[in-house]
């Protein structure tokens, strides 16, 4: 148990350090902060709305994450494969599960950090009015969970290939499906029977409940089970195609 925890921590630490050792991390943080600000203030017209809430801020997250999260996750296994370090990693006394979780947590912590850096938003709405900070908190939790789901899916696609680009494109497509499957403009045109099946896969309904300030175990279960499934599948893929 001790060894498991220690290994996950060691791997997460290395992965996180490798983000900050390359320009990717800084570019990501800047783009994320600029885009969230741009969409909130310019596209959603935050000030004209005259509401003390961050709903115009959170609305855009599942869309922004669509390209930003795959950009963070695509290298995780693809790069290990391409550079051959996977052979070194998997011949150390580390299990595949420890390595997968370690890397996943590193990516998720990094995305959490990006979210934390948006705190001026919270200060701004609190300065301008009296928002419900509970709703803001569940909004952040929902956003963090969506990011985790996208990340787990990107990690799965990155386990399949040596190419970061292939991993990126595949995960954008899959995540786009997870968004569109429950997005009203799309679900409205689907026949009701198909809609009810497709919508089960979507992150959107679950995300929206959290945006309204409601924490439902069912929603949390959805996010956690998609992440768990994707990471488990990553393990299966890595075990079966270590050399290729």
């Amino acid at each position: 148990m001790n060894r498991t925890f220690s290994n996950i921590k060691t791997i997460a630490k290395r992965e996180l350090a490798s983000y900050f050792n390359s320009p990717v991390a800084y570019i990501f943080l800047i783009i994320f902060l600029v885009l969230t600000a741009f969409f909130t203030f310019n596209v959603s017209a935050f000030f004209e709305r005259n509401e003390a809430s961050l709903s115009s801020f959170f609305t855009w997250h599942p869309w922004l994450y669509l390209v930003l999260v795959p950009a963070i996750g695509m290298r995780q296994w693809a790069e290990e494969r391409r550079s051959g370090t996977i052979e070194m990693l998997f011949t150390l006394p580390v299990t595949a599960a420890q390595a997968i979780f370690g890397k996943f947590f590193a990516g998720w912590i990094f995305l959490g950090l990006a979210l934390i850096l948006t705190f001026p938003m919270v200060i701004t709405v609190n300065y301008l009015g009296n928002p419900d900070n509970g709703v803001i908190l569940t909004g952040y939790i929902g956003s963090f969970l969506v990011a985790g789901v996208y990340l787990a899916i990107t990690i799965l696609t990155s386990a399949f290939t040596r190419s970061q680009i292939v991993s990126f494109i595949t995960s954008v497509v899959i995540c786009l499906f997870l968004v569109l499957a429950g997005w009203p403009p799309v679900t409205r045109v689907l026949p009701p029977w198909l809609d009810s099946i497709v919508a089960k896969f979507s992150v959107m309904p679950h995300y929206q409940t959290l945006q309204r300030g409601m924490v439902d175990v069912q929603d949390l279960f959805f996010f956690v089970s998609v992440m768990a499934f994707a990471l488990f599948a990553t393990g299966v893929v890595l075990r079966s195609r270590r050399a290729g």
Partner: protein, 322 residues
């Protein structure tokens, strides 16, 4: 100690390793020799638990690698082919990462890192990132990684590949120095390397284990082992040749060089067993009977190079056959 039994690996329809068995004891350096594509790296990947075997077993310190993977892998230091290492990390950070994985802490961790930095001569580049290192330094960094936990078993896939001659000698010395309390397997296609550092040698070709013995034993099995070279004072080399050919046990004689005073000849023994190494005695006897003086007489113990050529199929031969 590493024990390999009936190891087989299929890559789809390609049989890369075909029923290979051997073991390496503590205190022994085993050379793994074979042409490119023979299956050396594949075998090493199965020994270190990176690839599952199609069939057969590997035991490391009596632990089955497929059942007790983590424990068994903790007993092996491994240098993979091409020395992979995380390019964005510094040498120091990389070795710290490896030390953390091996659960080394505090003083023990620092000491282990300093120890491998010293023996692999990395101290002066410890803060350099790995992608800026020259090939030699990079391989030594990865070698340092494999030695960090001081595991009782080392598996080194072409440890001297890409190093310059001085570095090669250094690394060989280093391996030799570690040998007394470790079981070491190293692969190479450099024959002199085998003779310099290996106690025992395995030749594998097209996935099959062809032979297993000490370098001396295998030399003696080459066709040029037992060949006698003699330099005789004479003007008439042809006459000497005829005389030497008459000795029983001689298959043929060739004149290597001749000048005004001496001729150098080589005699091929006809026997293929151990008796062929006695040919020199018969030659000496014959020459003294004939009252001829000679200044050189020696029996070849054979060469690994010849043996290797004789037992392995070269790539051009493979192409011709195909």
């Amino acid at each position: 100690m590493i024990q390999v039994q009936n190891l087989v690996k299929w890559y789809g329809p390609l049989l890369a390793v075909d029923d290979v068995s051997f073991d390496v004891q503590k205190g022994e350096v085993l050379g793994f020799l074979g042409p490119n594509g023979a299956g050396k790296s594949t075998t090493m990947r199965m020994i270190t638990g990176f690839l599952p075997a199609s069939s057969g077993t590997v035991h490391v310190e009596n632990l089955d690698i497929s059942e007790h993977g983590t424990q068994a892998r903790a007993q092996i230091g491994y240098l993979p082919e091409n020395a992979p290492a995380y390019p964005e990390m510094s040498v120091q950070a990389f070795l710290e990462f490896i030390a953390d994985i091996h659960l080394l802490q505090g003083k023990a961790r620092d000491k282990a890192i300093e120890r491998v930095m010293e023996i692999c001569h990395l101290s002066n580049i410890r803060h350099q990132t790995i992608d800026t290192l020259s090939k030699g330094y990079r391989r030594r960094t990865c070698l340092a990684q494999s030695m960090l936990a001081d595991s009782p078993n080392l598996v080194l896939d072409e440890p001297t590949e890409g190093l310059d001659p001085n570095q090669k000698r250094e690394v060989r010395k280093l391996i030799r120095n570690m040998a007394h309390d470790k079981a070491i397997i190293l692969s190479t296609h450099i024959l002199e390397e085998v003779q310099a550092i290996c106690d025992r040698l395995i030749i594998i070709d097209q996935g099959k284990l062809i032979c297993n013995g000490t370098p001396d034993e295998l030399c003696r099995r080459s066709s040029d082992a037992g060949t006698v070279t003699v330099g005789v004072k004479t003007q008439d080399s042809d006459q000497i040749r005829a005389k030497l050919e008459a000795i029983s046990g001689v298959k043929n004689v060739t004149v290597l060089t001749k000048d005004q005073e001496t001729a150098t000849l080589t005699l091929q023994p006809s026997a293929s067993d151990e008796t062929r190494f006695q040919l020199a005695d018969a030659v000496a006897e014959k020459l003294s009977e004939e009252n001829l003086t000679y200044n050189e007489l020696h029996t070849s113990t054979g060469s690994l190079e010849t043996f290797f050529q004789e037992v392995t199929v070269s790539e051009t031969e493979q192409e011709n056959a195909a």
